[in-house]
């Protein structure tokens, strides 16, 4: 957080059918619907999140990710980071307060990987959902589906990983938590963190810019991941792979798709980092084990199916 970027705050995902998407994210993933706007966008959050929303569903004729937003500590930081982005050579766009309901002004930019990101300092504080602020109970009783705890990170596929690394590390203050290097020593995957978490955003090398691999939501336990797998079968939801463990980050995970073909992950566990930790490195020839620790084999779908 050395430049004042605090955490992932939101992701806006394009969906082909808003009602089908709402049913998926609300009833299956277990997010809470918090608002809608005149553009037809639907706002959701996970129950432990303190701000009004973390997922925005945007009806569209083409699925994928519109943007991912990071919350910064205050307005002064936002002003400074805008200057730093411009000085680095990254143009920014100003999105006025209220364009997303309950969110302050946003600074939007496109990373060299082709993905759109935003920074913002203010969002309506609604508190954790379903529990009181004083003497809170352990969890709300009426959660649905997988009972996702929080929006955790996104994985992007795109090119120009080195320039993207430079922007995220040297301008925005992320650090490299984990990486995959090919036989020439070139980085083909970078897991970047702004916290003690294993990753807050990750990038994998891909020839086409701006592709979306998945949005990930945190669960507490392995039992919750198995229960998520049961729910995926019960609802005949499109599964990708899992339950399994990743080598990278060591998280325990399952992947599935929303009704528009956007990939989701729910996971638990995973490594942690402090500033004195060195990045963890995987060699590309061990990529199978790095991605799926048990099968030790790549599933082509995981690498090529993107929105």
């Amino acid at each position: 957080m050395r430049k004042g970027v605090m955490r992932p705050g939101h992701v806006q995902i394009r969906v082909l059918d808003a009602e089908a998407a709402l049913k998926h994210y609300r009833d299956l993933v277990g997010l809470i619907e918090t608002d809608r706007d005149e553009q037809g966008r639907i706002y959701l959050k996970a129950w432990t999140e303190v701000d009004k929303f973390s997922l925005v569903l945007n009806p569209s004729d083409e699925p994928g990710m519109d943007f991912m937003g990071f919350k910064v500590v205050d307005e002064a930081t936002l002003v400074q980071l805008e200057q730093d982005l411009l000085a680095w050579g990254c143009p920014v766009e100003h999105i006025p307060a209220g364009e997303l309901r309950g969110c302050g002004r946003r600074i939007r930019f496109v990373a060299p990987s082709g993905h759109t990101f935003e920074l913002y300092a203010e969002k309506e504080y609604t508190g954790k959902w379903g529990v009181t602020e004083v003497n809170p109970e352990a969890w709300p009783m009426d959660l649905k589906g997988m009972r996702a705890v929080r929006f955790d990170h996104c994985l992007m596929y795109g090119d120009e990983l080195a320039a993207t690394y430079d922007l995220f590390v040297n301008v925005l203050g992320f650090y490299l938590a984990e990486q995959v290097l090919d036989e020439n020593g070139d980085r083909i995957a970078q897991f970047l963190s702004i916290s003690t978490k294993a990753h807050d955003v990750a990038f994998i090398m891909h020839p086409e810019k701006g592709k979306f691999h998945h949005a990930s939501f945190f669960l507490e336990t392995w039992e919750d991941v198995l229960r998520a797998a049961d729910l995926i079968s019960m609802t005949d939801t499109s599964i990708d792979i899992g339950p399994t463990r990743h080598g990278l980050t060591h998280g325990k995970t399952i992947y599935f798709f929303d009704p528009s073909g956007n990939r989701n992950e729910v996971f638990c566990g995973g490594d942690y980092n402090y500033p004195d930790h060195k990045p963890v490195t995987w060699a590309a020839e061990q990529l199978g084990k790095a991605i799926f620790y048990h099968d030790r084999q790549l599933n082509e779908r995981f690498l090529t199916v993107l929105t």
Partner: protein
């Protein structure tokens, strides 16, 4: 009421049945056949694009990046979003930009 129709993949000569409330891709998975790669199953990734050669069908929502109006009209559609209304024949050929990377590898799990 659901009807059942016969699906024929012309390149490999595979046949399987498809209920009218199942997508072409789902019917292939249920029948344990492998002629179309399985991706997101949601009309988003474009992996399952086929050419319908004959027969009637209706379509669920599909990403316009992969199927525009013109290609929908000429039957170049996503198998995960095709619901048959009659017997269908179709071809699957890997898209040129995907050739060699995922023809046979996105198999039914």
């Amino acid at each position: 009421m659901t009807d059942t129709f016969e699906m024929t993949e012309l390149v490999r000569g595979l046949r399987f049945n498809c209920a009218s409330d199942h997508s072409l891709l789902k019917a292939m998975e249920l029948a344990g056949k492998r002629c179309i790669p399985v991706g997101c199953r949601g009309g988003g990734c474009g992996l399952c694009k086929v050419q319908v050669v004959s027969g009637e069908f209706s379509c669920g929502p599909m990403s316009k990046k992969h199927v525009d109006e013109a290609s929908r009209r000429c039957g170049r559609v996503l198998a995960c979003r095709v619901y048959p209304r009659s017997d269908l024949s179709f071809e699957y050929r890997p898209a040129p930009e995907l050739a060699g990377t995922n023809n046979n590898s996105n198999e039914v799990m």
